[in-house]
Structures are given as structure tokens and as C-alpha cells.
Amino acid sequence: MSDIIICRCEGVRLHEILASIEDGANSVQGIKKRCRVGMGYCQGRTCQPVIREVLINKLGSNPIDRTSKIQSPIRPVLLRDL
């Protein structure tokens, strides 16, 4: 179970997310910085709700201000199209 992939883009598995929480991460952002979850192509759209679920499960809550900040571009864009 713990080797199930959570972040499809970056191939991050559940045990890496749990290890990040063990390491002190208490936000989507904190997990992201520790194991690259949500840092790929879809920018966390697919996995972030699942990570919130894990955080709620492990830490009891995941306040909205601890979810990941949105940075542009919200969709990938070719450098020549900027």
C-alpha cells in the first residue's frame, strides 16, 4: 500500500509523503518541498486533494491557509508564447 503512487507527474509514492509528514511537514507546501509532490506538469491539480486527505488523516486538520499557493502560469506555456 505505501508504495502506491500519489503524484502521477513526479512519481511520488505514499511512503515519501508519510516520511515528509514524519519529518515535520504539516502543509501541502511542506510536503511538496520535501518530496516534489505536485511539482510536475499538472501542478498538483490531481494529487493535491489527496494530499490534503492524507494530512487531515495524519494531523487531524489541514487549514486552508496551508494548502499550496497558486503561482502563474496555471497551465504550462511555451516560452515563445509568453
Binding site: 500500500m1 502506491i4 505514499l14 486533494p49 486527505e53 492524507v54 488523516n57 494548502t67 502563474s72 509568453l82
Partner: protein, 409 residues
């Protein structure tokens, strides 16, 4: 490019908004990243119990093209295959277009719709494991069979509708199962909660058989639900629905070849002794819908977490104004509901904006507000059964926010 209003999302909410605005002479651009307008309407095809019996088919494709024609006739520009990648203040919207790179606009309506929630089951990244939305789009819009032998993981109104549509398209749907219980799928693996949610939603189920299923569990819900759960199998239109079995793993070397199924207790615990393998080539995963809110975060809207609406949503009032002046929301970005509500909200957001521009009277806004309520009552499908409570929570939060803002100013 200079416009009066930019609408993000050419789904039911966005297009209806554009029509209302263009009718009053505003210059409107709608952008959408899909290659044709219509949004989720494009995949919808079902019988609507609120329509006259002889002509009760809700064909989203037809509705989408009618709405699009109307908008275009009124002078609305719809840019497909176009994405907004950044929005800056008052308002410059940067888009992925080779010629028009930015749109300057006085107001924005965000109608970005929903995104599917992932349902991670072991092996869910394999080729052939697709989301229920993809299954719907490929079956109803593209007329392509996503597989020959299919199972569904996740039992909810949407997945049941799609399973019925797929069966109708000649695909062998072997059954619908719950996901293996884990911290990743929360209540989706609980048989009791699944059945209760279905019962609440099936009050207004779109399909005849779905309505029969609703009767099964109507009335004293909790008692009936518990007795129903003693049965291992319910069939709808020949599709077996297993409320006491879970898919624990999706197997296959290069592609989905089979799923592993285990029995669940009434409370949703796995019975480890019994295991069965079902040979399939496609798995449809249904984790539910969430509002797609990234564009509202980009314009710095105040966000709130209201699970009864589907999760994190931009704070807005009953007239669909957000906390940022000039930014309005409509459709699933405000909470997960059906296309009819989205269309009514599209109109309301447009009128709310027109009222702020002093182009319409208050009565018209109130009227549009009331038609949202009517649309809600007439909606054939409820994704979140407690949506009305969710809307009330939003109203309270808005008032609380206004109060706080009042003190600060």
C-alpha cells in the same frame, strides 16, 4: 485586445453568461482550453425526468451547440484551445495564444467548472485505468470504446450514469465496486455512506432504473440501507453494483489486465481471506468532483473550505460576486451541481455584473437569483446531497467576511 468582460470557461455557465452580457451590448470574449465550446455538457446524454416523456433526452452536445450559436450570433468571441496563464490586477489576462497574448478587461467571470478528484487504488496509474470523466467523454462525445471489459471503482450518481451510458454504447460493464479502504479514499470505501449518499441523490435520478433504485432505499434510510447491505449485489439495468466488494489492486504488465477484488464488511473493512480476480482491460475511477478554483486563486480571491459544496471554493455572495471587485463566479467553481444550475448561475453572474455597471434594474437580478433556486429543484442529479446547507454556509461566511471588512475599513 480590449474587452468589457472576459469569461474563463466555455461551459454551460460561461456561455450563458456571455449571451446575457452580449445582449446588453457588452464586448465579451470567452476562452476555453478545450478545442470546442460546451465544457462538460459535451459528454452529457441522459433521460431527464423533468422533460416531457416523448422528448426527454438531455443531449448536452445539442444544447452546447445551440448555446454557442446564440452567443456567436450576438457577437461573442469564443477562443478555444486557449488558456489563461496569469491574471494581473484590473485586469490583464495573459493567454496562450500566438497572436493575442494579453486581454485587457474591465471584469472577469470565472466559470472554470470542476475537476475530478483522484481515487488512488493500487495500480491506478496503469494504462487503461481512466477517470470516469474520461470514460464519459470518450463514450458520448468521441464515440470511441475505452475498452471491451470494464469495471468501475467508486459508486456514485455520476459513475452509475456513465456506466449505464457505456453499457448502452455496447461496452461490457462487469460491475461497479468500491475502492479499497485507505486514508486516500476517505468515505468512498464505506458501503453505508455510499448507499446513503446514493439514496439522497436518487430522489431526482435521471434514469428510470436509477429512480427504482432510489425507491429501494427511500423512506427510513438508515434501516433500509443496513438491510440492503446484507445483499451482496444490486443490479441496475443489468449492471451489477457491489456495495460490499472493493477493488484492492489493478493488475497488468503494460496495461490493465485484471483487478483484484476483496469482500468488505458493512463498515467497510476488508475481509482478507477472500480474494477474486476479474479479467478486464479498462478500469473507470470515480472519486467525485471538486470545484476547479486555480484561476480564482490567481486573482487573489478569498477562499473558503466548504466540503458540502465540494471543497475549497472562492468566497462569494448570493449574486456570485467574489471578494475581488470585478470578479464574478458561476457554475461548478461555486460548488458542484448540475448543468441546469450552472446555466442559471451563468445568467445570474452576468446580471449581477450588469447591475454593478448600472445597466439593469435590481428586479432582474432578483429574478435571475430565483431561477437558480428553481433550477436547483429541477436538477435531475445531485452530486453533493447537502448542497443547500453548503450554500447557506457560504452565505454566512460572506456576511462574516463583510463584517470583518467593515471593521477594518
Amino acid at each position: 485586445m480590449d474587452v468589457d468582460v472576459l469569461i474563463v470557461g466555455a461551459g454551460p455557465a460561461g456561455i450563458v453568461s456571455s449571451i446575457e452580457l452580449a445582449k446588453r451590448g457588452l464586448k465579451v470574449v470567452v476562452i476555453d482550453e478545450y478545442y470546442k465550446p460546451g465544457g462538460r455538457l459535451l459528454g452529457q446524454l441522459y433521460e431527464d425526468p423533468n422533460l416531457p416523456k416523448e422528448n426527454n433526452l438531455w443531449d448536452g452536445k445539442v444544447i452546447a451547440s445551440k448555446l454557442t450559436e446564440e452567443a456567436v450570433a450576438l457577437g461573442v468571441t469564443i477562443l478555444c484551445e486557449t488558456t489563461a496563464w496569469k491574471i494581473e490586477e484590473q485586469f490583464i489576462v495573459y493567454i496562450t495564444d500566438t497572436t493575442v497574448k494579453e486581454i485587457h478587461t474591465k471584469a472577469i467571470i470565472l466559470a472554470t467548472g470542476a475537476i475530478e478528484k483522484a481515487l488512488p487504488v493500487k495500480g491506478w496509474t496503469k494504462v487503461g485505468a481512466i477517470s470516469v470523466g474520461a470514460a464519459q467523454t470518450f463514450t458520448n462525445l468521441h464515440n470511441v470504446k475505452v475498452g471491451s471489459n470494464v469495471v468501475f471503482v467508486g459508486i456514485d450518481p455520476l459513475s452509475i450514469s456513465v456506466a449505464l451510458e457505456m453499457k448502452h454504447a455496447g461496452i461490457n460493464v462487469l460491475g461497479m465496486f468500491l475502492p479499497a479502504p485507505s486514508m486516500l479514499v476517505s468515505e468512498k470505501s464505506n458501503p453505508k455512506i455510499t448507499l446513503e449518499t446514493l439514496a439522497l441523490a436518487s430522489n431526482l435520478a435521471p434514469n428510470k432504473l436509477f429512480r427504482i433504485f432510489g425507491k429501494f432505499v427511500k423512506g427510513k434510510i438508515s434501516n433500509l440501507v443496513l438491510s440492503m447491505l446484507k445483499f451482496n449485489l444490486i443490479k441496475i439495468n443489468g449492471i451489477p453494483i457491489y456495495l460490499r466488494k472493493a477493488v484492492t489492486e489493478i493488475n497488468g504488465k503494460r496495461k490493465v489486465e485484471s483487478v483484484t477484488i476483496k469482500k468488505l464488511s458493512v463498515k467497510g473493512q476488508i475481509n482478507r481471506d477472500q480474494e477474486k480476480t476479474l479479467y478486464v482491460n479498462t478500469v473507470c475511477l470515480s472519486g467525485g468532483l471538486l470545484p476547479l478554483v486555480d484561476s480564482s486563486q490567481l486573482v487573489n480571491c478569498e477562499m473558503v473550505d466548504i466540503p458540502k459544496l465540494g471543497g475549497i471554493v472562492p468566497l462569494h455572495n448570493q449574486f456570485l460576486k467574489t471578494t475581488i471587485d470585478g470578479v464574478y463566479v458561476a457554475g461548478n467553481i461555486t460548488g458542484i451541481e448540475g448543468a441546469k444550475v450552472a446555466m442559471a448561475q451563468g445568467k445570474l453572474a452576468a446580471l449581477s455584473l450588469l447591475y454593478d455597471l448600472q445597466l439593469v434594474e435590481q428586479d432582474e437580478v432578483i429574478e435571475a437569483f430565483e431561477s437558480v433556486e428553481v433550477a436547483r429543484i429541477e436538477s435531475p442529479l445531485q452530486f453533493y446531497p447537502e448542497i443547500k446547507i453548503g450554500r447557506q454556509i457560504m452565505k454566512d461566511k460572506w456576511e462574516e467576511f463583510q463584517g470583518v471588512r467593515g471593521v477594518v475599513n
